[in-house]
């Protein structure tokens, strides 16, 4: 945990109770007796948030584990312990396997696409040019719209005969006749990925812009004097300085995109022919449409495990490779 440039004052004496990590636990506090006298204060301050978050999270997790191990009726009645039967049912369902595969494709494509677009966009928005404020606002705009609403609008825009996408493309002469975007398996999923990228750009760009604003301008001055080209400046200066921010953007985006429900649910509901299901939409359909809550709980658990393994592995790799602040996302 980097605390920033804290002044190195001598560690306070035993007056501060346990004083576990003297160098940083007490440096500034030691100035005031009042602050030192209440080592429990921070815990009291974070307690309400901890209780509320734990309350909303712990029971559902417990309940999901419980339901996944039981035979549950569509109305939630527990009919008895069933061991791993729910998991077995899920894993032998071809829709689950294709949803799993789709989830990986979906997450990978959306996150990679988002980062590849957001880095240049952030670099441009960090330039000094006329209308930059307007440009920033426009790029951020999709963030303000509910994903549900965005999906509803795009569903209409991609309508076969009357949607504006086909109309515009035909006017421009790009396509000859209307394309059945959302009714064709080969098109529906890429269209949803594109929408997913579009709505993820604002958040990612925001993080990267924050990173760029912390880069001191004079290092570029120095690089220019040394004769570095624009590309070299980008490769050698900007990219390494942006790296921790890109890493964080990737981690958070993977979490968000992996869990993203409304776009696919509203645009295709997993269809046509279950070809666009990802795990969340499959989970929702099992739990609240097909009346198989036990299996839905099993899918939830599988997803939790995937997310957890990914996050731990990612943070581990990052902290090993970069050390210091980069592993310190938490």
């Amino acid at each position: 945990m980097t605390l920033g440039p804290l002044k190195q004052t001598p560690p306070a004496g035993p007056a501060s109770g346990k004083a576990p990590e003297p160098t940083r636990a007490t440096n500034r506090m030691s100035r005031s007796q009042r602050a030192v006298a209440v080592p429990r204060a921070p815990w009291l301050l974070i307690l309400p948030s901890l209780v509320l978050a734990l309350f909303i999270i712990s029971y559902p997790i417990f309940n999901i584990v419980y339901q996944s191990l039981h035979d549950v009726s569509r109305f939630g009645q527990i009919r008895g312990f069933s061991g791993l039967q729910n998991f077995y049912n899920v894993f032998s369902d071809p829709v689950f396997l294709s949803a799993l595969q789709n989830t990986l494709i979906w997450t990978f494509c959306v996150v990679v696409g988002t980062v590849l677009i957001s880095v240049p966009v952030a670099l441009i928005l960090n330039q000094d040019f006329y209308g930059r404020g307007v440009a920033r606002t426009i790029v951020m705009l999709p963030w303000s719209v509910s994903l549900t609403m965005t999906a509803v609008v795009w569903r209409w825009a991609f309508n076969d005969d009357y949607g504006m996408v086909n109309v515009t493309l035909q006017r421009l002469g790009v396509i000859a006749g209307p394309i059945h975007w959302l009714a064709t398996p080969q098109y529906a999923f890429p269209v949803e990925i594109a929408v997913g990228i579009l709505v993820s750009i604002p958040f990612t760009t925001t993080i990267l812009l924050g990173g760029l604003s912390s880069v001191p301008g004079d290092i570029y001055e120095a690089a220019r004097i040394d004769g570095a080209s624009a590309w070299q400046q980008f490769r050698r200066l900007t990219l390494p300085l942006l790296k921790p921010f890109i890493n964080m953007a990737i981690l958070l985006n993977v979490i968000y995109v992996f869990n993203s429900f409304p776009i696919i649910w509203v645009m295709t509901q997993g269809g046509p022919d279950d070809s666009t299901h990802i795990l969340v939409t499959y989970l929702y359909e099992l739990g609240f449409r097909l009346g198989r809550p036990g299996e839905a709980a099993a899918v939830s658990l599988v997803m939790l495990v995937i997310l957890f393994v990914f996050s731990v592995a990612y943070l581990r790799v990052q902290s090993k490779r970069g050390g210091g602040a980069e592993g310190d996302l938490a």
């Binding site: 346990k18 506090m29 301050l45 999901i64 339901q67 440009a135 790029v139 549900t148 609403m149 812009l209």
Partner: protein
């Protein structure tokens, strides 16, 4: 000066595909919402309405039960924001001011709650709501259940934003207040909080927007029309219908979106600072 003009042209040129893609749905919403029903389904379709039909917005208000949904969205978003802030403010203050043991652990806990999106827990969340007695029945189909879960899922974001701003408020001001005989909590109330007001307002608005836009939890927990929020109401106009009245749907999405977008456009620059500071600190 001339160089800047040239650079501006290049920048806008490079951004133009993205700008078009972002503004496209807004244009679709806007133009469709003013078309008479007879113009929505004509082939070949056209962008601009021939007759601008303002009446669509009046019809939509009825068809979407917009007034009720609007009130529900406002109530749920306001109360969940208030609750999230009430628990996040002290936590953020603790993170920014006390280098206590377990601080890293708490931050990791917040990251984990970020990871557990409501949709993953939705099956269990539903059972939790069904288990807690409230009024005549339980928390399913009550606004309270939705409010509490929104608040809980927004804690991580709110603490993150707030504590990163709090760290930029100079400590010396509070400390000099102590020296003048102010108690610690007095100093927080009289010196610190007034300085932190902008940060709190910005965080509140973003929390509000995320509650306003949320879908999965309300969609699952809320059943009756009189409790539905805007996102669910609009989805209901589209999902599982043979004929969708797209001009009304677009009017509803635009009416539900525009106010939030305007506020967001005005505030987005604060976001850049707050998120980045909180993230890599």
């Amino acid at each position: 000066m001339n160089r800047k003009l040239k650079r501006s042209l290049w920048c806008w040129l490079a951004l133009s595909p993205l700008v078009v893609a972002v503004l496209f749905p807004f244009a679709v919403m806007f133009f469709t919402s003013f078309k008479p029903a007879s113009e929505v389904f004509v082939y070949p379709a056209r962008w601009l309405p021939m007759h601008w039909r303002w009446q669509n917005y009046v019809d939509m208000w009825q068809a979407a039960n917009f007034g009720v949904a609007l009130r529900n969205s406002i109530v749920i978003s306001c109360l969940s924001t208030a609750l999230a802030l009430a628990v996040s403010l002290p936590a953020a203050y603790a993170l920014a001011r006390f280098p206590f043991r377990g601080r890293g652990l708490y931050r990791q806990f917040l990251l984990v709650t970020q990871m557990l999106s409501p949709i993953l827990l939705v099956v269990g969340l539903f059972r939790l709501a069904a288990m807690i007695p409230y009024g005549d029945g339980n928390l399913v189909d009550s606004k309270l259940g939705v409010i509490v879960s929104y608040a809980a899922f927004n804690i991580a974001f709110a603490v993150w934003m707030l504590s990163s701003y709090f760290q930029t408020v100079p400590r010396d001001l509070e400390e000099s207040a102590w020296l003048e005989g102010c108690s610690r909590s007095g100093a927080v109330l009289r010196v610190f909080l007034p300085l932190a007001v902008p940060a709190v307002v910005v965080t509140a608005i973003f929390t509000f927007i995320s509650a306003w836009n949320e879908f999965a939890v309300v969609y699952t927990l809320i059943r009756s029309p009189e409790n539905k929020t805007l996102t669910v109401q609009v989805t209901d106009m589209v999902a599982g219908k043979y004929t969708v009245e797209w001009e009304l749907v677009m009017a509803a999405t635009l009416a539900a979106t525009l106010p939030v977008s305007v506020v967001f456009a005005w505030l987005q620059r604060y976001m850049v600072k707050g998120l980045a500071l909180g993230a890599v600190k």
